[in-house]
Amino acid sequence: MEAYLDNSATTRCYEEVADIVRKTMLEDYGNPSSMHQKGVDAEKYIRKSTEILSGILKVKPGEIYFTSGGTESDNWALFGTALANRRRGRRIITTAIEHSAIAAPAAALEAMGYEVVRLPVGRDGVLDIQDLANAMTEDTVLVSVMMVNNEIGAVEPVAEIGEMLRSRYPDTYFHVDAIQSFGKYPICPKRMHIDMLSVSGHKIHGPKGSGFLFIDQRVKINPLIYGGGQQNGMRSGTDNVPGIAGLGTAAARICASLKENAEHMYSLKERLAEGVSDLGNIYINGPSDLRKGAPHILNISFQGIRSEVLLHTLESRGISVSAGSACSSHRRGGSATMEAIHAPREIMESSVRFSFSELTTMEEINYTVQVLHEVVPGLRRFTRK
């Protein structure tokens, strides 16, 4: 049996997403910038996706900009606003647990002379809004906070942050990395006072290489990519019609049943957590109240077993999981998130992330619980003496 429990790394495309990608590659393959009928046909897909996404977020269609994915959206939000507003201020506030798509551009801006403040989080990975209030200054041009942490599923109080910023620092822009939360939680940027929102297609059963950045029309931002002037000159490059069509299709389906999906994933998460509890020396990273964390992420440390060893053991039984964040497994050393929540070394080294989607079944979870019972005691016999 197979169990794919690495949905925070990427998801399986919906059938209808693959269908529309195929169609836009083989039939409606025109360039939307072309003046002939082929171009017009292709452009319809873009309009349709824009409508779907602006409808979901309840924003204007002109506030949606398609990108190559989450990393580009995050980079654009940071560099684009930092450069466009550099006369007003050169201070950016973010958190210590951001994905590297935020952390790395922030570090690059720091090297360019910007001041970057990285707020700490609690043991459960959640930011204390008071820390943000204390760190705020008039010359802070941007606050960027992820909504759901990709490693431990902590959920940040973005609505409260938005409200506080808008009432007290209306000139400061608020960016939210929603790559792990779009399609899991309802998000209304206008009501939550979010100025920019990054979303990735392949995390919501869409194609890789697709994504968008919502940019409120009040935001002063520079383009990151210059060229032929597509998307109002804000993001040049031939429109990725298959990606955009697939992204819209995926978003429409996943957001049509947010509540049911979340309920389904919470039941999987609870079953897995309860199923392994009798293995002993188990530690759940992130919010201990499972329902306070994201529905699709469960990060568990099986003390005494190194993450990679458990990962490869599970892999050999057809179960795919992540050791920490898939993106951070390219690096040596611990993860920034695990360090920020002050996880002790042995917890950090033994942490494994299980992540679900609406397509994950209870059978997969039951199988995983069964395999864990088979392998964990054996692996624990082999620890470094």
Binding site: R306, E308, V309, L310, L311, H312, T313, E315, S316, H330, R331, R332, R381, F382, T383, R384, K385
Partner: protein, 396 residues
């Protein structure tokens, strides 16, 4: 400008009656190395020399790079070929060649060394030396003749066309692979073993390799890294058979039954034993390891004695007297370093004791190994039988 290379070889030249065998092997490896270079090449042996001649346009830098991976080549001289043998044309071309390679500004001394294997050519070598020297002096007034101690030796060979060359780019030296039997390399994902393989291959030894894989303690990526390293070594050594042995069960048995501080030594003894089995299969005459005295606990003189005690074949340890930095330098030179340091190193660190023995005593180790007596036979058999063998070569 250059359309050919003259290949110079060193030690092969003194191999007496076996010389043609060495030369054949060298030609074979030159042809093999040039397969990955853009261009069409013809490799010929004429009168004790090997020429590589390019047909039409070719990647000059790439060809040099490839030739530098062929053991047995001491030097590579890029050759200008003059097809039109008219004497005035030859003189003009030789002068133009010197002008291009040694432009005005840095005065140099030179002499012409002409040879005329093509005896039908109407000018003999003495004439050629004088006339071509004169042509160079006229065309390049900044050059001066010095027949005793010249900066530049301008070689001219009159064959079916005229060959001109003056520079020699150093090759890797050594002897052509395959001219000295074969040996089994214990290849890990580290820095040392690929260098050890390179050094033995350089002496003309064909290489096959054994890698010990310990899933789930070592990852699929760690295995891929070893395959990549084998490919890098194969750029020099030619085709390598790589045996990937699943070592997990043996490691676990040792872990459970033997004293933990002796684990690494005992493990290495079993690696040697298994490597010998594959050496026999591959017809190898020795084992190769990247060991260097004192580098780690399992490479102290005492540890080496204990590891060596299970081997019946000679063990070649070309790095035995090297410092780590010297090995790193070599690895960088031959291009394996960047792959070796990729972070997929064995996460089987759990199998390494915090305080391993550094002065093991053979009798004690042997006694500890007896604890494995009732399980090790089938485990070894299983490990050998389930071994995956792949063939890598250095092309692309």
């Amino acid at each position: 400008m250059y359309q050919a290379f003259l290949i110079k070889y060193a030690e092969i030249g003194i191999k007496g009656k076996n010389r043609h065998l060495f030369e054949d092997a060298l030609v074979h490896h030159i042809v093999r190395a040039l397969k990955r270079v853009d261009g069409t090449f013809e490799v010929t042996r004429e009168m004790g020399r090997i020429y590589v001649r390019a047909d039409g346009d070719f990647d000059y830098e790439g060809a040099i790079e490839a030739l530098k991976t062929v053991f047995g080549i001491a030097g590579i001289s890029p050759v200008l070929i003059i097809e039109d043998m008219d004497y005035d044309n030859v003189k003009a071309q030789v002068a133009a060649f010197v002008k291009a390679v040694y432009p005005e500004g840095t005065p140099r001394t030179f002499k012409v060394v002409a040879r005329r294997p093509n005896k039908k050519y109407p000018h003999d070598s003495m004439e050629l030396n004088a006339d071509l020297g004169e042509a160079v002096l006229l065309g390049c007034p900044w050059m001066k003749v010095d027949v005793h101690n010249p900066d530049v030796v301008l070689s001219v060979e009159v064959r079916q066309s005229v060959y001109v060359y003056s520079e020699t780019i150093p090759g890797p030296g050594g002897m052509p692979v395959g001219s000295n039997g074969s040996a089994e390399l214990l290849l890990s994902g580290g820095i040392d073993s690929p260098v050890a393989g390179y050094m033995i291959a350089k002496r003309g030894v064909k290489i096959d390799a054994v890698y010990f894989h310990a899933p789930p303690y070592t990852s699929e990526r760690a295995k891929q890294k070893v395959v990549d390293l084998a490919k890098l070594v194969a750029r020099y050594a030619g085709q390598i058979r790589l045996h990937i042995v699943n070592f997990t069960d043996i490691q676990m048995a040792i872990y459970e039954k033997c004293p933990h501080e002796e684990l690494t030594i005992i493990m290495r003894r079993y690696m040697m034993r298994i490597a010998e089995i594959f050496a026999e299969q591959d017809g190898a005459l020795g084992l190769i390891t990247g060991e260097s005295i004192g580098q780690v606990a399992s490479q102290t003189a005492q540890s080496l004695l204990c590891t060596n005690a299970v081997c019946t074949l000679p063990v070649y340890r070309p790095l035995i007297g090297f410092d780590k930095q010297e090995i790193v330098d070599r690895a960088q030179q031959i291009g394996t370093f960047d792959t070796s340091i990729l972070p997929y190193e064995d996460c089987c660190t759990i199998f390494v004791a915090k305080h391993p023995v550094t002065h093991p005593i053979l009798k004690v180790i042997e006694r500890s190994e007896h604890k494995l007596d009732d399980v090790i036979g089938p485990l070894m058999k299983e490990a050998v039988e389930t071994t995956e063998t792949i063939v890598v070569d250095g092309e692309n």
